[in-house]
Amino acid sequence: MTALDLDALIDDPTTRIIVTCGAGGVGKTTTAAALGLRAAERGRKVVVLTIDPARRLAQSLGLTELDNTPRAVKDVDGANGGSLDAMMLDMKRTFDEVVLAHATPEKAEQILANPFYVALSSSFAGTQEYMAMEKLGQLHKQAEKTGEWDLIVVDTPPSRSALDFLDAPERLASLLEGRFLRLLLAPARGPLRLMSAGVNLAMSVMNKVLGAQVLTDVQTFAAAFDTLFGGFRERAEKTVALLREPHTAFLVVAAPQNDALREASYFADRLREERMPLAGVVLNRVTTTHAPDLSAERSLAAAEKLTDSDKSALTAAVLLLHADRMQQVVGEAKRADRFRRGHRSVPTVDVPALPDDVHDLAGLRQIGDLLTA
């Protein structure tokens, strides 16, 4: 049960990539932005890739335009020689860029106009995860080449499960390389010929059900993507390799609630299995108190006493609030403890719940202080 030292992490020049992940709504984006800002103000040249920031937070980072390129964040203290750029991921655009970069112009045009491509690039569950990885790969390459950044902080999509993020690239790649697309491309070639009775039946059904146009579209899509297949898998593998290197640090963000901790637990185990470098777990939005000795029970009893004797209603209300708070403090501590005992080797840090939400640089600095307190 060790403490997570995030200043040491961001000050270490060999830390080049930090990935925040976890269940939805726990504070991944907030943590990524706060750490990025802190690292910049401590002298790193940082780019933060956010996925789905709250509107006000995005505005305060200057992310009003979705143009898929990092822009300098204003009002960052550069006294230590650092800088902060930020961007918001546009998944469709990132996908389009991949196609444009890797296919001939005619082929690219064909792909971009294909309805299956449009569906895949805008709404396939997993595309966002895959494109986040793609963008990370691009930023990394650019950083190596130009030296404009020495630290990349990546947020992950608001997945229904934290694990989607590790699985999606593989899922997308295997879909694009899957047996069915192969069949559509070459229904009567090679060892697959044996199956072609089944395939022909399948094709004629598709024709009947979906209409000939749809089938043609799928085939065009498959043919057009053919040249990209190798590239896709290769790129996915490269990014995964990048994530395994010691200069990468994963931070799992969790709220001290059962669901989020369960998710964090799976994720920590999975990262270990995949030999990915887990720096630690951020327990975010933890309820705190400066009067831990006044228990919920005593506080509640005191409030009742006041109410029964018609004395200070205000004090009674304040005591009720404290009782409520203590109940949360105790429950959260119990859950956090259970988590820590189950993951003794994983460093953790608690970040208190702020009364207000986090929507400007001042708020991010405050979270940065709390992350490293």
């Binding site: 269940a23 939805g24 709504g25 709250a54 509107r55 006000r56 299956f116 569906a119 895949l120 709404s123 396939f124 569950a125 229904r160 879909l175 899957g178 047996r179 069915f180 069949l183 199956m195 089944g198 395939v199 039946l201 399948a202 004629s204 059904v205 598709m206 009947k208 059900v209 209409g211 059962n258 669901d259 108190t289 400066h290 009067a291 006044l294 005593r298 506080s299 005191a302 409030a303 006493k305 006041l306 004797s309 004395k311 200070s312 205000l314 004090t315 009674a316 209300a317 304040v318 005591l319 609030l321 404290h322 409520d324 708070r325 109940q327 429950g331 009364p355 207000d356 939400d357 929507h359």
Partner: protein, 311 residues
């Protein structure tokens, strides 16, 4: 239909709605479509197969059946229904076509899922409707528009034929008076923003909003005047000191200032929640509040929430 931002309580609220209908004596089908076994988890039963299964009984004599729709099984069922393709369907499945099509064409997936809901809604058994109500734990706000509108898109593609008729029929049902979309939210910036965006989008699509369910509400023991003072850090410390003494609690300066600071945190949060509540109220929709259940949702809590929904 129950939608909302991820984690706001869609599954919980959908289940509570189903229970509250059952409580009024209705036969209810509770459907999930996200392939996550959220209902099984909530009701603490083993994963649900693609079969309707009784999951709860309402005190009022009604029943809740649960169904986890599987898109691939639904595709085969659909093909069979329209084309009587027993064997060919299997061939499709075998070459990975079913997997491919339901994955790569999310629209098709949605056609199948909404199709299943439509079928369940109209199904007859013993000369009457099999279900009095169908409650759908729908996709989250980010995807609800395309999900519910998919049959309109299909109708645009298929000009004639059985698929067109089916698409028209489903769209007709979704836009009619029998369908209501309820949005679950918390009083926080992001879920409220998503709710506002979704309401606008759904109404443009001619779909009907039922209510906004504000979930996990906490009531303040402080009156408005004290809340205002607390925010300004001006709660009367003399009164607090006296009050604590009267209650037999050591009223050290530090204790008083700690409690005042906690009241301030709380008041700031309440202020934020009220701003968000105003944004919800400005929609002019029916709003239902569900309280925060302190120790997590179990069977009993679900029935309590169902009761709150009824009143």
């Amino acid at each position: 239909m129950v939608t909302g931002k991820g984690g706001t309580g869609k599954t919980t609220v959908a289940a509570a709605m189903a229970l509250s209908l059952a409580d009024q004596g209705k036969r209810v089908l509770l459907v999930e479509v996200e392939g996550r076994q959220g209902l099984a988890q909530l009701f603490d039963v083993p994963p649900l197969p693609y079969v309707e299964r009784k999951i709860a009984v309402g005190p009022g004599g009604g029943e809740v059946f649960a169904l986890a729709v599987d898109a691939e099984a639904a595709l085969l069922e659909y093909l069979d229904m329209f084309y009587h393709l027993g064997r060919a369907g299997k061939a499709l499945d075998k070459v990975g076509a079913v997997d491919f099509v339901t994955t790569i064409a999310p629209g098709l997936r949605d056609v199948l899922l909404t199709g299943k809901v439509y079928e369940a809604t109209r199904r007859k058994a013993h000369g009457r409707l099999a279900y009095d109500a169908v409650v759908l734990d729908a996709p989250p706000t980010g995807r609800i528009g395309p999900f519910l509108n998919v049959n309109h898109e299909v109708a645009g593609l298929a000009k004639v034929g059985p698929i067109r008729n089916q698409a028209d029929a489903i769209m007709g049902m979704l836009r009619s008076d029998v369908t209501r979309i309820h949005l679950v939210t918390l009083l926080e910036e992001m879920p409220v923003q998503e709710t506002l965006d979704a309401v606008e989008q759904l109404e443009t699509l001619d779909l009907r909003i039922g209510s906004i369910v504000v979930n996990m509400v906490r009531h303040s023991p402080l009156d408005d005047e004290s809340l205002a003072l607390a925010v300004k850090e001006k709660l009367p410390t003399a009164e607090l000191t006296k009050g604590l003494r009267a209650a037999g609690i050591s009223a050290s300066k530090q204790m008083v200032s700690t409690l005042a600071a906690e009241a301030r945190d709380h008041a700031v949060r309440i202020g934020l929640e009220r701003e968000n509540r105003d944004r919800i109220d400005a929609l002019g929709k029916e709003v239902t509040e569900l309280g925060l259940v302190p120790d997590g949702i179990d069977h009993g809590a679900l029935f309590d929430l169902a009761e709150d929904l009824r009143s």
